[in-house]
């Protein structure tokens, strides 16, 4: 069945599938893992950095991008598609500021990106964007937000979510470990993001990139040293917790 209805984006299959959109979601799984956590006073984005070729300049490879001073996004999937979406979103942020004299809300810009993605699932001669995005930020009301968009053009608000390779594993980890205690303060939320990423990142802290936004503060990207510190602290806590467990069982 799939082979007859999966070549054109504008054709539904008899059982209601848009196969090109579903295949685009497979392209997202080829990107490295991204995790987003919404804390009480902080939003955290953690990504698995992909390894680059020896002669390649690492700085150009960026998964976390600021859309405005108070909103940023991380994506998983086709790099070139992400560049186009980010560029359009940034223009929209400034256009909104000029027209309405207010910065965009996180929900507005998410809806803009989702609408853009949806248009590409309903035009002939085009294909869907092969990216999912996690968009985080603070609105003027001071409430932290985390949204996720996918290639079909849907968007939802989340407390914590993951996209990209092995996202399911990270989502299961978050479902078990996202508690009120875990996001009690900023550093706990950061540690939760790191622990979630370490479930699937195969080479430890040196392949992790972390960014946070605090209320009324711009995006902060963690340096490699800061990430190393956080990872070591997380590792120590894990060891302590395991020691306690083994004492209890003994």
């Amino acid at each position: 069945m799939a082979s007859q209805y999966d070549r054109a984006i504008t054709v539904f299959s008899p059982d209601g599938h848009l196969f090109q959109v579903e295949y685009a979601q497979e392209a997202v799984k080829k990107g490295s893992t991204v995790v987003g956590i919404r804390g009480t006073d902080i939003v955290v984005l953690g990504v698995e950095k992909k390894s680059v070729a020896k002669l390649q300049d690492e700085r150009i490879v960026r998964k976390i991008c600021a859309l405005d001073d108070h909103v940023c996004m991380a994506f998983a999937g086709l790099t070139a598609d992400a560049r186009v979406v980010i560029s359009r979103a940034r223009v929209e942020c400034q256009s909104h500021k000029l027209t309405v004299e207010d910065p965009v809300t996180v929900e507005y810009i998410t809806r803009f990106i989702a609408t853009l993605k949806q248009k590409y699932t309903q035009s002939n001669g085009r294909r869907p964007f092969g990216i999912s995005a996690l968009i985080v930020g603070f609105d003027d009301d001071g409430i932290p937000r985390l949204y996720q968009t996918d290639p079909s053009g849907t968007y939802h608000a989340w407390k914590a979510n993951a996209i990209g390779r092995s996202a399911k594993t990270v989502q299961e980890f978050l479902e078990k470990n996202y508690t009120e205690d875990a996001i009690a303060n900023d550093s706990e939320a950061i540690k939760l993001a790191i622990r979630a990423l370490l479930e699937v990142v195969q080479s430890g802290g040196k392949n992790i990139e972390l960014a946070i936004i605090r209320r009324k503060q711009p995006l902060k990207m963690f340096s490699a040293k800061e990430i190393e510190l956080q990872v070591n602290e997380t590792g120590k806590k894990k060891e302590e917790a395991e020691k306690k467990k083994s004492k209890k069982t003994a």
Partner: protein, 268 residues
């Protein structure tokens, strides 16, 4: 060809060719000596060769028959091979017995006479302390275990693939395999393809006890989570005795991952 008003199809006369066309076609189909030579050369190149990698000498099949075999484990694909290398082959000392090299027109190698050791397609090992673990020839009391991976989009199910918990393991066994498998059996209408299917079919025909463990994953390249999905296999009767040190195996696996690959620039 042309159709008449009565519906019959007649061969329309063609001014471009003559009735001698059929004879000319037959001549063309007859092979020239050059064609024959090319065909023989290709056949020689495509022969499967068994040899010892260190000495590059041919391994005669009769030498392999010297080794009695009770367990034959074959891993196909990089995740299955990584699992075998980290969890099974790190216990005890495994000696390389030989390798099988082959070439066909789809191989990218140009030089077929001197395939380098890094291009071995199948390497045979046997456990020094227990030489009955190895073999390439079918024996009555042999048990065959096949490990391989497949992309989850090949898995046919009424559920949506996004609701499946990948990676997951499925098993398919021959009639002679009596043990309970370590995971659920592969449901219809899913089928197994290529080499694993060939090995399993061979075992079924020759009444050899064999089981195939197929890991459905959404990451086909070397991936820690996919390799760890094979872990339930370690509890099977045939492999339990071969597994010694699981924490050490996990460390070896992590090292295998880090020596790995530069990722493509298309996906981030």
């Amino acid at each position: 060809m042309a159709a008449t008003f009565f519906g019959e199809v007649v061969r329309a006369p063609c001014r471009a060719g003559t009735e001698d066309e059929e004879e000319e076609e037959e001549e063309g189909r007859r092979e020239t000596p050059e064609d024959g030579e090319v065909r023989q050369q290709l056949a020689r190149k495509r022969e499967v060769r068994l040899l010892r990698r260190q000495t590059k000498t041919t391994l005669e099949v009769s030498l392999l028959e010297k080794y009695p075999c009770s367990k034959f484990i074959i891993a196909i694909g990089n995740n299955a091979v990584a699992f075998l290398s980290s969890f099974i082959m790190n216990s005890g000392v495994w000696e390389e017995v030989g390798c099988a090299k082959l070439w066909n027109e789809w191989c990218r190698t140009v030089d077929t006479t001197h395939l380098s050791p890094t291009e071995a397609f199948c390497v045979f090992y046997h456990l020094k302390s227990n030489p009955s673990v190895f073999g390439s020839c079918p024996r009555k009391n042999m048990q065959v275990t096949i490990l391989t991976c497949r992309h989850v989009t090949d898995y046919k199910t009424s559920e949506s693939t996004s609701s499946l918990h990948t990676p997951f393991l499925k098993a398919l066994k021959t009639q002679n395999f009596r043990e309970p498998p370590c995971c659920s059996l592969l449901e219809q209408p899913n089928i197994v393809h290529d080499l694993p299917a060939a090995v399993l079919s061979y075992c079924q025909v020759w009444k050899i006890s064999a089981i195939l463990y197929l890991c459905y994953t959404d990451v086909m390249k070397l991936d820690l989570i996919t390799v760890e999905a094979f872990k339930p296999v370690l509890s099977s009767r045939s492999l339990k005795s071969l597994v010694k040190n699981i924490p050490q195996s996990t460390e070896i696996l992590k090292k295998l991952m880090t020596t790995n690959e530069i990722q493509s620039n298309i996906y981030t």
